[in-house]
Structures are given as structure tokens and as C-alpha cells.
Symmetry: C2
Subunit: 106 residues, 2 copies
DNA sequence: TCTTTGTGAAGCCGATCGGCTTCATATTTA
DNA sequence: TAAATATGAAGCCGATCGGCTTCACAAAGA
């Protein structure tokens, strides 16, 4: 089974879960309240995210709080680095265009 | 059919294609030479990437050069912004730890 | 102890994925 | 014009996805 962070964030529900728990750790039930799908489906998503090492669990009695392992998100950032220089150059080009337009107005 | 940039980069072959053509525009045949799958499968990936607005085509006779629309990659970066502040804080914490270790050695 | 609550695991199902093969079409070249 | 080349489209197939329902189990509370 393919399990990597890119496949993990491919699903919109999983992306929403990540954003949710980024603020603070939450239990599966609390997370499920934010969606229109069953608690069990959320649980499945949590398992997938955990397998990708994106989540950490903290047990408190019978409740399990899931929290985001933010370091793992860095991996996406690192992959994006390959394109970052190109992206920045494009921005500079845009800046140049805006600069030229500005000067023409004078 | 779900078609967004996150689903587009979920496949490792598609990520490799993006990296390949980021350097310079390439034809489907040229791209396929870098992989162990058929030209037709590459073509399918190119169609998916195009549907996500990640690629631009430039026809030259019977050859079609695909090039990366780098601006679209920005969307991933923008999504990551939600976590960036947290990631930076973690780095600062790490810096603090390293700083403390460094001072203890003295 | 019995019931409620929080959770995970297993299995079902229709849709999609990512390969493949085959075919159609357009351009170039001999 | 005929053959070779570059490409896209359609359809097949096994695997996976993302929902669902059902069940098992442990912890907490009446």
C-alpha cells in the first residue's frame, strides 16, 4: 500500500483534519463533529495520517487526542524548494512589469 | 471527477514529471524515455496535470512541448502557509535548544 | 454491576486510479 | 503518395479509495 505524505494530503477531508488539529489536539469524536461523515470514516482518515507519521496520539483515560506532527509538513516544503527559485523569479518578473508600468505613468 | 493540484501531485510519477519539465519543456515521448511505463500512460498523466492547469502546451509541427505553469505550484505554497508559522516556531525552539547546549559546553 | 461513551477493526460497495493494448489522426519524410 | 513518427482517445483490468454498517472492547459513571 502506497503511503506517503503527498497521498495523505490528496484527500480534502484529510487536509481539513490537518488544519483543524493544527490549532490544538482533538479526539476523533470532536473532529467528526466538524464533518458530515461518520466517526468511523474520520477514524480511517486518522489512521492513514498516522501511518504517514503526520499525527501523534496522547491517551487520556478512554479519550485519545490526536495532534499534528508539524515537522512532517516540512517534507512538502522541502519538495517545493525545487520549484521555489522558479517561483521567485516569476515574482521578480511581475515586479519588473509593475515597476515599468509605474515609471511609464510618470 | 475530482481534479485538484493536491490529487495531481499525489502520484510519484506525476511529481517526477513536474520536476523533469520544470527544467525545460519536453514532448511526451522525451518524457516517457525517463520512465519504465508506456508513452500512453505518460500521456494520461499529462492530461491529468493539464486538467489541473499545471501544464501549458506549445505545438511545433507534430511535436507538442509541455511546460510547467509554475504559478500553479504557488497554490501548494499558499496552503502550507497555514502551518508555516507553527513550523518556524518549531525551528526557533530547536535553535533555542542548540543555543542552550552550546552555552553549557562553555 | 449495568449502561453509556469513546474508540478501533473488519468487511461491503460503487467509484476512481494507474497501468496496459488498440485504434485514429496529423505531420514529416523518403 | 506511401511509410514513419508523434500524439491523443477509448476501453480493459486489478488494486485502491472513501464512504458506509456492524461488531468488539475498554473506560467512566449511575
Amino acid at each position: 500500500m502506497r503511503r506517503d505524505i503527498f497521498q495523505a494530503i490528496a484527500d480534502p477531508t484529510r487536509r481539513a483534519i490537518l488544519v483543524l488539529i493544527a490549532v490544538h489536539a482533538m479526539t476523533p469524536n470532536a473532529i467528526a463533529e466538524h464533518f458530515d461523515i461518520t466517526r468511523q470514516s474520520i477514524s480511517k482518515h486518522l489512521r492513514i495520517l498516522s501511518e504517514c507519521d503526520l499525527l501523534a496520539q496522547k491517551q487520556d483515560g478512554r479519550e485519545i487526542f490526536y495532534e499534528l506532527k508539524i515537522d512532517k509538513m516540512k517534507e512538502i516544503d522541502i519538495w517545493l524548494d525545487q520549484f521555489r527559485k522558479m517561483m521567485e523569479e516569476r515574482f521578480q518578473q511581475l515586479d519588473q512589469v509593475l515597476f515599468t508600468i509605474k515609471n511609464k505613468k510618470k
